[in-house]
């Protein structure tokens, strides 16, 4: 019977090694940008600047890491920025009213998580496409936050709380430690747990995943809740670093987070990508913006450059993957 199995098959290839190649290219691109900036600007390689880049990248990464999981399931969460704003304002209020940073942090995380869960319910139980559900949620959250803040600004938080966003430990900013911790947790979750494997399977083919016995709805709920909770975490870092909160702080956060996910090589069609890629995506994005600042390029050019990088990164992905096929 064995000779039945002798059929034409192409040489071996896999997405694992393909993923590794894509990550390698991205690291190379990040290093290349560093090298160019080091030549062009004297201040780029200073410790202060590098720590600054990492700290800025960390905020984008927190939002983008949760978003990566959503995108791996072929979904999208457009409400993350608005979620950060609402969570920051509510957490800030709790700290002001109770004087307890711990309670504020918990409230911020819970608020983010609940918003994420609501997104998940819309996507699973109500079967609204994630793009639309979270787009609607964006407006709802914006509306709530503007109504709640009524034009006010929360300002001035306890010194201990402010350490989270602006403090140092052994010479490194605390957000950088958090970044490493969540990069580790995110990577372990996606690559080394069965839930992570199931998320990849759902993104690759949701129908087959359900008929393979994966509890698709529960996993999607989890993924949106995680995305929301990471937005809640970002809101705490944001609050503590800026020492203030306003209703409009979320507006400039969503699109860079999506950019980091895409530059990091996660496919909007789902099933392909890594949390580590998103970290490098956030890094590349921050490096370029930092370099433009150092070289005194007008900030007006930043959106244009970001757009070009996103298109370039995705185009290269599509091209190399197609060649691999």
């Amino acid at each position: 019977m064995t000779d039945i199995s002798k059929e034409a098959v192409a040489p071996p290839r896999s997405f694992l090694s393909q993923d590794a190649i894509q990550l390698f290219y991205r690291l190379l691109a990040a290093l290349l940008i560093c090298a160019v900036l080091a030549v062009l600007s004297d201040s780029f390689l200073s410790l202060g600047n590098i720590l600054n880049v990492l700290r800025q990248a960390s905020l984008t990464f927190f939002i983008a890491s949760g978003l990566t999981l959503v995108v791996l399931t072929a979904g999208l969460d457009l409400s993350v920025g608005a979620n950060v704003a609402l969570s920051a304002c509510i957490a800030g209020t709790v700290i002001h009213k109770t004087g307890s940073p711990a309670l504020g942090i918990l409230t911020g995380l819970a608020c983010g998580g609940i918003v994420g869960l609501l997104n998940g319910i819309m996507v699973t139980a109500l079967r609204i496409p994630s793009f639309i559900a979270t787009y609607g949620m964006l407006w709802v959250l914006n509306g709530l936050t503007y109504w709640y803040m009524a034009g006010e600004t929360l300002h001035g938080f306890p010194a201990g709380f402010r350490q989270i966003g602006s403090g140092y430990l052994f010479g490194l900013p605390i957000p950088v430690y958090l970044l490493l911790v969540f990069l580790g947790i995110g990577t372990l979750f996606a690559q080394r747990t069965i839930w992570g494997q199931e998320i990849y399977a759902i993104g690759a083919n949701p129908v087959a995943a359900r008929l393979s016995g994966i509890p698709v709805a529960r996993r999607l709920l989890l993924v949106y809740a995680v995305s929301g909770t990471m937005a809640g975490l970002a809101s705490i870092i944001f609050l503590s670093r800026l020492n203030s909160a306003e209703a409009d702080i979320g507006e400039s956060l969503t699109l860079p987070a999506i950019a980091a996910v895409l530059i990091g090589g996660t496919s909007l069609f789902g099933g392909v990508g890594t949390v580590f890629g998103t970290f490098i995506g956030a890094l590349i994005l921050t490096l370029v913006l930092n370099g433009m600042n150092l070289l005194s390029v007008s900030a007006n050019w930043q959106p244009l450059v970001t757009g070009i990088i996103v298109i370039l990164a995705v185009w290269l992905d599509v091209k190399t993957r197609r060649r691999a096929q």
């Binding site: 019977m1 002798k6 098959v9 192409a10 071996p12 896999s14 008929l211």
Partner: protein
């Protein structure tokens, strides 16, 4: 080889299209190796071969999707080149693929003349009355009576196929290549298609017909070309060969077409009991019992509700009333619960419902067994790899390794991966929905041997199939469905094709 081809050439001496010495190589694979092939006017030329034999490659060379590495083309004796789809279209070659290329939200007329719409008086508009009239004329030519303004979305598979054929005819196709056209058709629809083929033949259209069904080959074919491993094995007339000889040519050895089974003397305990099951998908009052050690058939016409029963048992569609008792316990809920209790569904469409095509063989093999293999929740790539390697060996899946993208495997090997994932999960009841669709004869025998081994080891199988021969050969007994209900039950000694057809037929 050319002498063999000459021996079966019909009276008309010049072929409409002739291919000589076609070769096509991909990295590591010789897809076509010195293949010669001639199509004469008004003939049905059957193209036979197992999956991977080179039928698809030859078809793609014919329609200009692939460029041959070597070889010559002759059209009515004149040398020509087929380097692109446009070249093929100019020569009147059209292909009806298994996956149709129609736009679902456009109507029939728009689909037939897509990209060639008659222009209206105002620039940029379409002459609606002319496109409808033209479409009606083309549909009339193939004897398909339907309103051309019907949206394609609303058509069944057979009707969509008719639209594809109409589209080809409207482009003056003289050579129609059909890839397993009856694979998704009911018996009645198949008859209509055969009638249309006869009509096209009479008009001088040549048909290259790819099939896995022996009965069709003899019913329709004027000539038969057999491919194996990218080579042309032989060209014969149906009158000169027996089915067994053809099978031997295809697989290069003898294959027993009777799928021998070790029928158990007495089946084991009841594993699945379905009582009065109804679902929103149109099935009602279904009563089924499956015991350990049994293969129970579920037959009936396409659309009689067989897949719906399978899906309802598996929890994929909501149940409205009735009870499912599995292994002594009443069960309900989503597929993940059914899977965890030991029910496996091998769905009808393995590409869209059974596999994540872009993921690796290994990923697909362990996806249903994650909880069982890694009870702690921590995934271990090496353990997954070992499990996958074991299944690849056990099931003889032809793949360079567990890391191969599953979409690149042949149909039979993809089906083995779908079955393999449930072996890994340790399932007890296997529900097969058309397990051999689009799979070549050799792989079919392997799949049936596998199912036999599963039930011999104490599992049970519920098998849906449109191939009544297979049901008769393989099943211990069978239920026949009609219009969403169980129309009857056939014990082993009553299990004949006649009985299945009799019970499954609609009685007006």
């Amino acid at each position: 080889m050319s002498t063999a081809a000459l021996a079966v050439e019909p009276a008309v001496s010049t072929p409409l299209l002739e291919l000589r010495g076609i070769s096509k190589e991909f990295p590591g694979v010789k897809a076509l190796d010195d293949v010669s092939f001639a199509v004469f006017p008004g003939e049905v030329h059957m193209l036979l071969g197992e999956n991977g034999a080179g039928k698809s490659s030859l078809m793609k060379v014919l329609c200009g999707a692939y460029r041959a590495d070597a070889g010559e083309f002759y059209y009515k004796g004149e040398p020509v080149a087929i380097n692109s789809a446009a070249d093929a279209q100019k020569l009147g070659i059209a292909v009806i693929f298994q996956e149709f290329s129609l736009v679902p939200h456009l109507d029939i007329a728009q689909n037939i003349f897509l990209g060639r719409e008659p222009k209206g008086r105002i620039p940029g508009t379409i002459d609606r009355s002319k496109i409808l009239a033209d479409a009606r004329r083309v549909l009339g030519m193939i004897g398909f009576e339907i309103d051309p303004s019907t949206v394609v979305d609303k058509l069944g598979v057979a009707q969509q196929q008719m639209v594809e054929i109409a589209k080809a005819i409207s482009q003056n196709a003289r050579i129609l290549v059909m890839d397993e056209p009856t694979a998704a058709l009911s018996d009645r629809e198949t008859e209509l298609l055969f009638a249309l083929i006869a009509r096209l033949k009479a008009d001088g259209v040549s048909i290259v017909y790819i099939s896995h069904r022996m009965a069709e080959v003899f019913a329709l074919g004027d000539r038969i070309t057999v491919l194996r491993d990218g080579r042309r094995i032989d060209g014969v007339r149906p009158a000169d060969v027996t089915p067994d000889q053809l099978v031997r040519m295809m697989v290069g050895r003898n294959v027993d077409m009777t799928y021998p089974r070790n029928f158990a003397d007495k089946p084991g305990e009841v594993l699945l009991e379905v009582k009065g099951l109804s679902a929103s998908t149109g099935i009602s009052d279904i009563n089924i019992e499956v015991r350990r050690g049994e293969i129970v058939g579920l037959c009936g016409l396409v659309g009689s509700g067989r897949s719906e029963v399978a899906r309802a048992i598996f929890g994929a569609d909501p149940v409205t009333s009735g009870e499912i008792v599995f292994d002594g316990k009443t069960i309900s809920g989503e597929p993940d619960l059914a899977a965890r209790r030991g029910i496996a569904l091998i769905p009808e469409s393995r590409k869209s419902e059974g596999l994540a095509l872009l993921r690796s063989v290994g990923d697909n093999l362990v996806v249903s067994a994650l909880r069982k293999l890694f009870p702690s929740g921590l995934f271990d790539q090496r353990r997954a790899q070992r499990t996958a390697d074991g299944l690849i060996r056990q099931l003889r899946i032809a793949t360079p390794g567990a890391r191969q993208t599953v979409g690149l495997l042949s149909g039979g090997n993809q089906q083995k991966v779908v079955i393999g994932k449930w072996l890994a999960a340790g399932s007890k009841l296997f529900i097969f929905d058309e397990p051999t669709r689009g799979i070549d004869i050799g792989a079919k025998a392997e799949i049936f041997a596998l199912i036999d081994r599963l039930v011999a080891e104490g599992a049970a199988a519920l098998m849906i199939s449109s191939e009544q021969v297979e049901i008769c050969h393989v099943c211990d007994r069978a239920y026949v469905m009609r219009e969403g209900r169980i129309a009857g039950h056939l014990a082993r000694n009553e299990l004949t094709e006649e009985n299945i057809v009799r019970l499954g037929m609609h009685h007006a």
